[in-house]
């Protein structure tokens, strides 16, 4: 029916917002931001057994200027926090944050003077992945949930604002 039928189903008709979201979620480049133990499971998710590359995330950029997704994997200590915020500021929009592991979600087992009790106190987190460390399958599940979230975004009609308080020196 309609134009699709006339062209023998060789075209896909959709709206621009769907298309932009689909393009964003299919080629989201993660920032390699391994802080502590969760970084090892993140690396394990990148290699051949769990293979993050099939979700379009093959290119893990060390530079925030090239990255879309910041996977905060590991404990955010208070000394490291200004650096984390600075790096987040340097990422270009659209940008997303995954808090991987118990320490990034809530401070984890380190409820003390030296650890930020959850980076969601300072960063807008999209997906929380609990675990200590979470299995690579859990990370994949979290990333797929993020993809679902991205597909539902109103990226053109109502784009998200992801500014944070300017990080002090």
């Amino acid at each position: 029916m309609g134009i699709k039928g006339h062209l023998n189903d060789t075209v896909h008709v959709t709206n621009l917002e769907w298309f932009v979201n689909w393009a964003r979620k299919s080629s989201m480049w993660p920032l390699g931001f391994g802080l502590a133990c969760c970084a090892l499971e993140m690396i394990a998710a990148f290699v051949s057994r769990y293979d993050l590359a099939r979700f379009g995330m093959e290119v893990a950029r060390p530079s925030p200027r090239h990255a879309d997704l910041m996977i905060v994997s590991g404990t955010a200590s208070k000394k490291m926090l200004p650096a984390i915020l600075r790096i987040y500021e340097q990422m270009a929009e659209p940008r997303w944050v995954i808090a991987m592991g118990a320490c990034a979600c809530t401070g984890g087992i380190y409820k003390n003077y030296a650890v930020v009790q959850g980076i969601d106190r300072h960063l807008p987190v999209d997906v929380y992945i609990p675990g200590c460390p979470p299995r690579p399958e859990a990370l994949l599940d979290g990333i797929l949930q993020l993809h679902t979230k991205v597909m539902k975004e109103q990226s053109i009609s109502n784009p998200r604002i992801t500014n944070i308080k300017v990080a002090s020196r």
Binding site: K78, K79, K111, Y113, A114, R121
Partner: protein, 165 residues
């Protein structure tokens, strides 16, 4: 040499006003020495051919609040040649005017550099003649000493803020 012999050797060299106390627990002896003579004791431990403790495992401190003297600095040494270990301690106290202080053992064992820096910032102990007395692990703006017994584990918003002010 076993632990008893090492202790006897130290006692015969320095006497009981310097080697003040010793504790023997599970075949490990630790002697308490007077803090003024710590460098001499360490030099003897390192240079005497029968002891030759040339490897320093760690330097740590203990807060004994409310006992006085308040702090105890612990030196764990090891002899690579003779394969024996020993523990030496010194007691220090702090006053209202001055922080607790002891001579740095970096001239004997250069590895003590970072151990003493960490101990200094965690407890507020000053190591005299330390080559580089800067903070090591804590953020630069902090003035508190976390490993003291009267410091709460959770810190406070003023002393240990998430972001520097």
């Amino acid at each position: 040499m076993n632990q008893e012999e090492i202790k006897e050797k130290l006692l015969s060299e320095f006497g009981t006003d310097i080697i003040q106390d010793s504790v023997d627990f599970r075949d490990q002896i630790s002697v308490t020495v007077s803090k003024e003579k710590i460098l001499d004791v360490c030099r003897y431990l390192k240079e005497d051919p029968e002891l030759s403790f040339n490897f320093l495992s760690f330097v740590a401190a203990v807060d004994r609040l409310p006992k006085t003297p308040r702090f105890e600095v612990v030196y764990q040494v090891h002899s690579l040649k003779h394969n024996h270990r020993f523990r030496v301690k010194a007691l220090l106290d702090e006053t209202a005017e001055m922080s607790a202080s002891i001579d740095s053992v970096v001239p004997m064992w250069p590895t003590a550099d970072w151990h003493e820096r960490e101990t200094a910032e965690m407890f507020g102990i000053t190591f005299n003649n330390h080559p580089d007395p800067r903070k090591l692990l804590l953020p630069d703006g902090w003035t508190v000493h976390p490993l003291r017994k009267d410091f709460s584990l959770y810190g406070t918003e003023e002393d240990t803020p998430d972001l520097p002010a």
